[in-house]
């Protein structure tokens, strides 16, 4: 049975009278790399902070690690590592010393420090003052601080912010390895959608405090469109309207929304059967970015 690592049910949060999270629900299961997407100010960080009890919420429930309501205890925090907004550490200390602080507070074995330094590739610079770290090294240290407990859940808020392409790739490969190698479930937000697309198996799209989409990547990828060009466009339009297809007409072709291979076959049969010459009919698979923009623009 797949364990529910994070289950958010009908979560609502207001700042003053402004609704920041509006009755959102989603579930992160064990082994997931779960992408949490949304524009700036859509409520991603607020949701993450609510899960970490860094802010109170107005209504709803957050269950962690199989139905443990976070309001009942703080013990679950021992099983969660997090990097929220930007890496935070003491600049007057070395990377090792910063990890030592978390190790002492969390009462975990000292060996975890060396282990995590190796995982994030900071072993050679562990004794360098963190104020002298490059941006990429700081980001890696932030992830190391989140990982040093070897938690069951890792919450990462924009972990690739400000990194160069090589740094982004390194962090991506690191995150991808976490579920399989260390049994860590990852809940990650990012605005670099092309990166998220390469990492996650599930995704939720948050817009204006509401979940606009939640599901696995396959489901999202099925949200393709069908591009059609025929020798009789008015007749094609009439047929599609009669069969209640959701489509839009452009200058050169007709775009059928929410298409799949099955829809393509059915439309092709319909057109050919009606003696309409089909000059072009192909599925357009959208990137996560296209779908994200479509969903958030619809609002």
């Amino acid at each position: 049975m797949v364990n529910k690592m994070i289950e958010v049910v009908n979560l609502t949060k207001k700042f003053d009278q402004k609704i920041v999270l509006n009755d959102i629900s989603f579930t992160v299961e064990e082994g997931d790399i779960y992408g949490f997407l949304g524009r700036n100010g859509s409520g991603k960080s607020t949701t993450m902070k609510a899960i970490l009890k860094l802010l109170n919420f107005d209504s709803g429930t957050i269950n962690v690690l199989d139905n443990n309501d976070i309001r009942n205890s703080n013990a679950y925090l021992n099983q969660i590592g997090s990097l929220i907004e930007e890496p935070a550490f003491y600049p007057n200390l070395t990377g090792y010393e910063n990890l030592k602080i978390v190790q002492q507070l969390s009462d975990i074995p000292t060996e975890n420090i060396d282990r995590v330094l190796e995982i994030v590739g900071l072993t050679a610079t562990a004794n360098k003052l963190t104020k002298k770290y490059s941006l990429g090294m700081k980001q890696r240290l932030g992830i190391a601080i989140a990982l040093v407990k070897f938690p069951k859940i890792l919450i990462l808020d924009e972990p690739t912010n400000g990194l160069d392409p090589e740094g982004v790739r390194e962090i991506r490969e690191l995150i991808l390895s976490l579920p399989e190698k260390y049994g860590i479930t990852v809940f990650i937000s990012s605005h670099i959608l092309s990166e998220i697309e390469k990492m996650v198996n599930k995704v939720a799209i948050l817009d204006h405090g509401k979940i606009k989409f939640e599901g696995n990547m396959q489901k999202l990828e099925q949200e393709s469109t069908l591009s059609i060009a025929t020798d009789n466009m008015p007749a094609t339009e009439s047929l599609l309207t009669a069969k209640k297809y959701n489509f839009i007409k452009t200058e050169k072709n007709i775009i059928v929304n929410d298409a799949s291979s099955e829809v393509a076959i059915a439309v092709n049969k319909l057109l050919v059967g009606s003696d309409i010459g089909v000059s072009d009919l192909h599925l357009v698979k959208h990137s996560l970015e296209d779908i994200f923009l479509k969903i958030t623009k619809e609002a």
Binding site: L52, K53, L54, L55, N56, N74, L77, N78, I80, S82, I84, E85, E86, A88, F89, Y90, P91, N92, L93, E97, K100, I101, V102, Q104, L105, S106, D107, L129, I145, K149
Partner: protein, 249 residues
């Protein structure tokens, strides 16, 4: 709590705020020594150079420098969390705001204890240099009163620095406290000093100057001592409630 205090020591490693604190402590000792020597060597001094004079002088000098010392200390041990956004990291790693506050109270109190020990040693050394004999319990009482005032003033400064992000506020309050003490030599009436937690060293003194030249035991000393203690206890309780109320936010 031992872990939290050990973490406080680790996170303040290599920080330079200890140098201004050493400087202020040295200045306090030097100022006290100079003022004692000046009066001792003066032929026209109207004061009797004895234990009472030394202890009153010690409290006056401390009244000037301790508001500054304590505001720098409280601000520096608090701003390390604000400046580096460490609240989040600490709170998701088993340290609540209340535990953090208490760790800082103990850490700061340890540094204050070192400062207090220095004052005791300086008072004994200067007393020895100017041939003053200590007798009775006045020396001990004065030092205990100084210790209490230091801790309560530190609590006051820590409440300002720990709960208000703008560290300038705590520092300005400390500077104002030092300025008032310098301008008045701690000779403000007790009922005024009771409203100024930042100048409690002057209020805690068991000695007071009357008629400009006579040093006598302050009849309000015990009341003032208990008053300062009560304010300290209230500040502690207030800080605990506030820290708990703020939680991890």
């Amino acid at each position: 709590m031992v872990t939290f205090i050990s973490v406080e020591f680790l996170k303040n490693k290599r920080r330079k705020f200890i140098f201004p604190l050493i400087l202020i402590t040295s200045l306090t000792a030097l100022w006290f020594y100079m003022s004692m020597m000046r009066v001792t060597l003066s032929t026209s001094s109207s004061f009797k150079i004895d234990q009472n004079y030394l202890l009153m002088n010690l409290m006056m000098v401390n009244g000037v420098f301790t508001p500054l010392f304590l505001s720098v200390l409280a601000s520096q041990i608090s701003n390390i969390e604000f400046n580096n956004r460490m609240w989040l990291v600490l709170s998701v790693n088993n340290q609540s705001r209340q535990q953090l506050l208490n760790a800082k109270i103990i850490y700061g109190s340890l540094l204050i204890f070192i400062y207090w020990i220095m004052q005791v040693l300086v008072a004994i050394a200067v007393g020895h240099l100017v041939h003053i004999t200590f007798y009775g319990h006045l020396f001990l009482i004065t030092m205990i009163a100084l210790g209490l005032a230091l801790v309560v003033m530190f609590l006051f400064q820590l409440v300002l620095s720990f709960f208000i992000k703008r560290q300038a506020i705590g520092l300005i309050v400390g500077i104002i406290g030092s300025f008032i003490a310098l301008m008045t030599s701690g000779l403000l009436p007790d009922f005024v000093l009771r409203w100024l937690p930042v100048d409690y060293v002057a209020l805690s003194s068991p000695l007071k100057l009357v008629n400009g030249m006579q040093i006598i035991i302050n009849q309000n000393f015990l009341f003032n001592f208990m008053f300062i203690f009560s304010i300290g206890a209230s500040l502690f309780a207030f800080a605990q409630i506030l820290a708990r109320k703020r939680g991890n936010e």
